[in-house]
């Protein structure tokens, strides 16, 4: 564990050094790949004059709103479909079609509907987060050990008791697997929404930098988006570790 951490740090130092001096050594112009120090300078500049923190804040709010709403919706629909086989059979072709449709393609439509506000961005994120959560919850509810349900029934459990004491807790590990995927996808959804139209958020800053041929600003935006995505992912993993504390340590939250 300690060795792998040291390798990780060494790799970071090497790649940062390559970023700083590599472009110069290879004679790559700075408007194609700006070196690290230039991007750092642009970061400070954007912080002071381009409202970098405000744009980051807008994106964070949209990501959180889209992720929370999308997960809740996905979980609720997953449980309902999981408990009603008829509904699942009736709805599955439509769900499949919607799942295959590239969700980001809805972004222009949502902007037509709701204008240059934060709502179309949130809606794209909701749509994109919905599916991994819904599918995982649905599968989990569907695959609960029937003997476990029979055990609860033999103790005279009501339908609600079976749900809260057996089905809901059983679905937690797969649901968190879905939430982890959802956390990173939420950032994708929000950014596509911001790229398509708007005047705030890191996606907007990205197109703004592109319009000015300000490559360092584009890099700054990408780095900040990665930071936002990582925070979202880490947040889910921290909650997962608390909720799934009963599982053997290795089974939870990947290797962090």
């Amino acid at each position: 564990m300690k060795n792998s951490a040291m390798v990780s740090v060494a790799l970071l130092v090497v790649s940062l050094a390559a970023w700083q001096w590599g472009p110069g050594l290879l004679h790559i112009p700075t408007f194609i790949v700006p070196p690290l120090s230039m991007v750092g300078g642009e970061f400070v500049h954007a912080w002071r004059f381009d409202h970098l923190m405000l744009h980051t804040g807008v994106t964070i709010v949209e990501v959180i709103a889209g992720f929370v709403l999308g997960s809740l919706l996905g979980a609720v629909v997953g449980y309902l479909l999981g408990m009603s086989p008829t509904a699942e059979v009736a709805l599955s072709p439509y769900i499949l079609a919607l799942q295959i449709a590239p969700k980001v393609a809805f972004a222009p439509l949502f902007i037509l509907w709701m204008g240059f506000t934060i709502y179309p961005k949130i809606l794209v994120a909701v749509l994109i987060v919905f599916f991994p959560v819904m599918v995982n919850v649905l599968t989990a509810v569907r695959t609960v050990d029937p003997d476990l349900i029979n055990l609860a029934r033999a103790f005279k459990a009501t339908r609600a008791q079976i749900f809260w004491k057996v089905e809901f807790p059983t679905s937690m590990p797969p649901m968190f697997a879905g939430l982890r995927i959802g956390a990173t996808l939420a950032v994708v959804g929000v950014v596509v929404g911001e790229l398509v139209g708007g005047n705030a958020g890191l996606g907007y800053l990205l197109t703004f930098g592109e319009g000015q041929a300000n490559t360092p600003l584009v890099f700054v935006s990408i780095v900040m988006l990665t930071v936002v995505g990582s925070i979202a992912y880490l947040g889910v993993i921290l909650i997962e570790r608390r909720v799934l504390h009963y599982l053997p340590a290795r089974a939870v939250g990947g290797n962090l």
Binding site: L151, R153, A154, F155, K156, P169, M172, L247
Partner: protein, 269 residues
């Protein structure tokens, strides 16, 4: 009350729709027997003879096609609090502690939390699991998990226990320890039990009587009374040479069942 009948199967027949085609498959046919208060009766028979079907009917999870089951003289029409079952799988909930798992049934039945905890602690203490009450199932061995499952079954204080091959997934030595624990518990608490098993020695050492079932459609073809002392000490019974005689008799009986069934099938065709 040794003469009170706790559990009675009266002419129980169970048919299922066949998986393919429209035919009906008779799993068990005309099964009748009764178990008196405090008696332990084993049910043995070839695989697929409908033993587990009988257990599902007894616990009220399935309704028989014909006939009925009575518990304490009352017809079983759904799950009821007098009957509890235990399977080969421990069915422990991984997110509950050992104590939480023991409380699962009583909690569902609405027993107050303090009483649930008290029952769980005293049962766990009986099974030498007191110090593990805050552990999670994945931290326990297979034998300990099965003991927790038995504690959960007893926590609801049922009159009748239905046990479906409860120890067949654990290793042979652990199994003997678990058999002893079960036998002592049943004796001490005076519980009535129907034990389904593949293990002939288990049937003989744990029971007052053994019922032998035929192949499908399963029906009871013999009843052997185990005339040995110390039903609460299966390990002592294993040393008794009579155990081997009973096991040999049961082996014979199961083989004869096989042959006679083929004749029956030939005669019917």
């Amino acid at each position: 009350m040794p003469d009170v009948v706790r559990l009675e199967y009266r002419n129980v027949t169970m048919r299922f729709k066949e998986a393919h085609g429209r035919g009906l498959l008779t799993a068990v046919r005309g099964v009748s027997f009764s178990i008196r208060d405090g008696e332990v009766v084993s049910l043995i028979g070839p695989s697929g003879c409908g033993k587990s079907t009988l257990l599902n009917i007894g616990s009220g999870l399935a309704a028989p096609s014909e006939g009925l089951v009575l518990v304490d003289g009352e017809r079983v029409e759904g799950p009821n609090a007098q009957v509890a079952f235990m399977l080969q799988k421990d069915l422990l909930l991984p997110w509950r502690t050992v104590a939480g798992n023991v409380m699962f049934g009583v909690e569902i039945q609405g027993v107050p939390a303090a009483e649930c905890r008290r029952r769980a602690q005293s049962l766990l203490a009986n099974f030498n699991l007191g110090e593990f009450s805050r552990h999670y199932p994945h931290q326990l061995s297979g034998g300990m998990r099965q003991r927790v499952a038995l504690a959960r079954t007893l926590a609801v204080d049922p009159h009748v226990l239905l046990l479906d091959e409860p120890f067949s997934a654990v290793d042979a030595q652990t199994r003997m320890v678990l058999q002893r624990d079960l036998a002592q518990t049943l004796k001490k608490a005076g519980k009535t039990a129907l034990l389904i098993t593949h293990d002939l020695a288990e049937a003989v050492t744990l029971s007052d009587r053994v019922l032998v079932m035929s192949q499908r459609p399963g029906t009871i073809i013999d009843e052997i009374v185990i005339d040995m002392p110390q039903r609460d000490n299966p390990i002592a019974r294993r040393h008794d040479p009579k155990t081997n005689d009973y096991v040999a008799r049961l082996m014979d009986r199961l083989d004869i069942a096989h042959a006679s069934l083929e004749r029956q099938a030939g005669g019917a065709a």
